[in-house]
Symmetry: C2
Subunit: 215 residues, 2 copies
């Protein structure tokens, strides 16, 4: 049996950056509520918000819980919001980091988030920084496809549509999976929350066009 | 002399994905205006908007002009907006792409954007998908530092503050520079436009807290 090997977030540079955008005039209130509520729910070692993003450090389970809480809090407001997520492992410094050894953790799976009742669409990309990166990407995507999400390949990204809990679990799990073989592995995801349906969007754009034409 | 070697965007998978978020109730109108105006200004071969992002294909100069136009159009509205940009080269397919050879272009520099008069803050990360990725990243960052921007290393990203024209030129140039040696090279950047000052943000959060306390 593999002995229990929890990851050490500081030593292996395991963490995330998250930028949340809220399409409403009162975005400051919506956003600060969501970030405060999420921070209180996850067991992170660091949370630092600057003017572009929030940097968080913690193990993979804590990163997933935090991201899930931000997305669920925003979804519950009914506002259309976008969350951009950067997950990183293997680069503990800032610019001049020296990649560490592969950080194998046990168990190899994250604790999945429960369903949230909110559907999201996410475009996800995975970057194992290695000559063998395509193998690691294809394996991780094959693993994620097994999760039963609606998954569509697009240029540069894989798109998942489904419950926020399942989509975010698949994204964090895929990043952890690719990190088995490549020390420095990064993932990015853009998550659309309460996205207007295509029909709503077309109607809004058409109404806007009529308004512009009438001016 | 190196003969002129324009890049072939389709063959080498040179393109971008861009997600723009506008923190206003009338985000649909602001966003559709900006995307339409930018699309009319840049010489792209493809523009496809889905519910999460807009995929564009064109050479490096066209990608830079398009991104610059989106950012300048949004900045001119006065709205606080975030633009997330993914730049990719060397992966012409979708999931199962086979990286191509290094695509050297001549000239090796992009046509710089003129200053826009709008200051932005951008967090940028560069992923040359190679075992030698840190060398390529450090070289590209050293090159960009020479551009005279305010540049700060942060965990997982490099932050640039300056005129939108200069910041975006540096980001696209750094990605092109790293792509000299590594065929499959991706960059991500999150750009904050009309970002509230830290003082404004603190005041808004304090006002919101007083409102919550008074309920």
């Amino acid at each position: 049996m593999t002995p229990s090997a929890p990851t050490r977030p500081d030593e292996h540079g395991i963490g995330a950056r998250l930028t949340a955008s809220v399409m409403r005039d009162d975005y400051v209130a919506v956003l600060s509520d969501a970030l405060l509520a999420a921070g209180a729910q996850a067991d992170l070692t660091t949370i630092e918000t600057d003017h572009v993003s929030t940097f968080v450090r913690g193990d993979e389970d804590a990163l997933l819980r935090y991201t899930g809480a931000v997305v669920a809090e925003l979804a519950a407001t009914g506002a259309h919001a976008m969350v951009h997520l950067l997950l990183s492992r293997g680069c503990p410094g800032e610019v001049a980091c020296s990649p560490t050894d592969v950080c194998e953790r046990s168990p190899r799976t994250v604790a999945p988030l429960p369903p949230t009742g909110h559907e999201v669409a996410a475009q996800w990309s995975l970057y194992p920084l290695s000559d063998q990166h395509m193998d690691a990407i294809e394996e991780a995507i094959a693993d994620v496809r097994g999760a039963g999400l609606v998954t569509t390949p697009r240029h540069y990204v894989t798109e998942h549509v489904g419950d926020a809990g399942e989509v975010l679990t698949a994204i964090v799990q895929g990043w952890l999976w690719a990190g088995r073989g490549v020390a420095h592995t990064v993932a990015h995801a853009t998550v659309s929350i309460n996205h207007p349906s295509t029909d709503d969007l077309r109607a809004s754009i058409a109404a806007h066009q009529r308004y512009e034409d009438a001016r």
